[in-house]
């Protein structure tokens, strides 16, 4: 059980809370204490919108231990609209085909469970942006 490890990361995992560099205004995700762009101290929180597009993707059939029950699953690098890229699963694809450049939005989903008795780990995944079915 790694309860404390997941607990420490809950803010970024649940809400895409990252950072913005006070020096060069670079938006940073996942959060880190030094700005990867200018190397200065960066700890100011920044809330990402959760919108982005697929940079590239693939499907995992041979899943690592702890992820077998969800296989096959699609995993992607997603470029957030504010700039940074992250690794995440795509979910709720239904019959839709993924493409590079496809617009996606963040949802909070179950990432894994540590066995039958272990804790449930929640975090960000991305899905096709929800279409409006009836006109506003």
């Amino acid at each position: 059980m790694e309860a404390s490890r997941h607990w420490r990361l809950k803010q970024e995992r649940y809400t895409l809370m990252g950072e913005i560099c006070p020096h060069c205004k670079e938006k940073i995700f996942p959060p880190r204490d030094f700005c990867p762009a200018c190397g200065e101290d960066a700890r100011n929180l920044f809330q990402f919108s959760g919108r982005g597009e697929v940079y590239s993707f693939t499907t995992v059939y041979q899943a690592p231990a702890g992820y077998e029950e969800n296989a096959p699953y699609t995993i992607a690098l997603v470029r957030l609209e504010e700039g940074p890229m992250l690794t995440a699963q795509l979910t709720d694809m239904g019959d839709e085909t993924v493409e590079i450049g496809m617009p996606v939005e963040m949802v909070t989903r179950r990432l894994r469970s540590d066995g039958e008795r272990g804790m449930l780990v929640y975090g960000y995944k991305f899905r096709p942006q929800l279409a409006r079915a009836i006109s506003a």
Partner: protein, 357 residues
């Protein structure tokens, strides 16, 4: 029942309303004919088309988070002002450890908040709304969030399996003056009626078959609706819309007729043929569908039902703020339109009925 000099309705000191609301319905649909195919049920035995099924990575926590985000988007308030996050469900992912703390964390409502999970079969969500009305109406809190959400359970082969669906809604309660719908009044009716239950550690519920009808669903909903309307001098014709708990299509239509409502008053909020019975989410997601299309000034009657048993009734009136606010998040029908049909095998896998160890 005794006659009350003061009507037994629940009316807070300060007027309270719905500041934001949000639905969530998962993407997958299991047609009733698929269930019938597996269990060789006679044709025509079902009164609905299909039910919504949650994906492998979904549960009441993730679904509540999305509904809550939609409610917040409509309310446009700072989540830090929310003093209670309450989730009513029959399918909390943990037996011990709140759903609500995860939801509160995910929407940014922590740490200055009450957080609790509610349980009262299919009315756990409306109970939470009534409590939230109390919180806001007593000025203990400016905002309180109440959610009813379920990934409903039904034993394979049981008639419940045709209907037990997934979905629900979140309601952010706040001061009436900034609400998109005000709560005119509410009322709760409860007795000890064991029509449906699930013992601790059991996977699937037991139900009393025909006992779930007259003495349970109909008695409680009728009493709750009539008492409330009487207390506030309202009649069925005063309402543009009415939403009842909907375990199937037949029950809410029949109870509506009994109370004197017309089919067109029930129509908009009757989602059970398309998404199934979402238990604690059932009446609440019916209401989101109504709010998605209601005109300002419309009156809406909402009556839930929870086995065990009880009914919560609410009389609502929409405000001028509704049309603009409802466009800040996906409509209930957007979720219904987002639909991928699955077969029974996929359903069995998604719902953990296939065990891998």
């Amino acid at each position: 029942m005794t006659d009350h000099k003061v009507p037994p309705i629940l009316k807070p000191i300060r007027d309270v309303g719905i500041v934001g609301y949000g639905a969530y319905i998962p993407r997958y649909r299991l047609p009733a004919r698929e269930v019938a195919r597996i269990w060789r049920a006679g044709g025509g035995g079902t009164l609905f088309e299909e039910k919504a099924v949650s994906g492998l990575d979904e549960d009441v926590i993730t679904m509540s988070i999305e509904a809550a985000r939609n409610a917040l988007a409509r309310a446009g308030i700072d989540p830090d002002e929310i003093r209670a996050v309450w989730v009513g469900s029959e399918s909390h992912p943990y037996s011990v450890k709140p759903t609500s703390t995860v939801v509160a964390e995910a929407i940014g409502a922590t740490p200055h908040t009450q957080a609790a999970d509610w349980e009262f079969a299919c009315k756990a969500g409306t109970e939470a709304i009534q409590a939230a009305i109390g919180f806001v109406g007593s000025e203990m809190a400016r905002f309180a969030l109440a959610i009813g959400m379920d990934t409903a359970q039904g034993r394979p082969g049981d008639p419940l399996e045709y209907t037990a669906g997934a979905g629900g809604a979140a309601y952010l309660l706040g001061p009436a003056e900034i609400s998109l719908a005000t709560i005119e009044s509410s009322y709760s009716f409860a007795t000890d009626t064991p029509d449906f239950f699930r013992r601790a550690n059991e996977k699937y519920p037991e139900h009393g078959e025909r006992f779930t009808g007259e003495p349970a669903y109909f008695k409680h909903i009728t009493s709750a609706a009539q008492t409330l309307m009487q207390a506030i001098n309202a009649s069925p014709s005063d309402y543009q819309h009415v939403v009842f708990h909907q375990p199937n299509s037949k029950f809410p239509q029949r109870v509506g007729r009994t109370l004197g409502f017309k089919p067109e008053q029930i129509e908009t909020g009757l989602l059970v043929p398309l998404i199934g019975n979402t238990y604690a989410g059932s009446a609440l997601v019916g209401l989101t569908a109504v709010l998605d299309i209601a005109e300002p000034g419309d009156r809406i009657l909402l009556v839930s039902y929870g086995s065990g048993a009880g009914s919560d009734a609410f009389s609502l009136r929409t405000t001028e703020l509704l049309p603009e606010r409802r466009n800040q998040a996906p409509y209930t029908q957007d979720y219904i339109a987002r639909r991928t049909e699955i077969d029974y095998a996929t359903y069995a896998r998604f719902r953990g009925k296939l065990t891998m160890k």
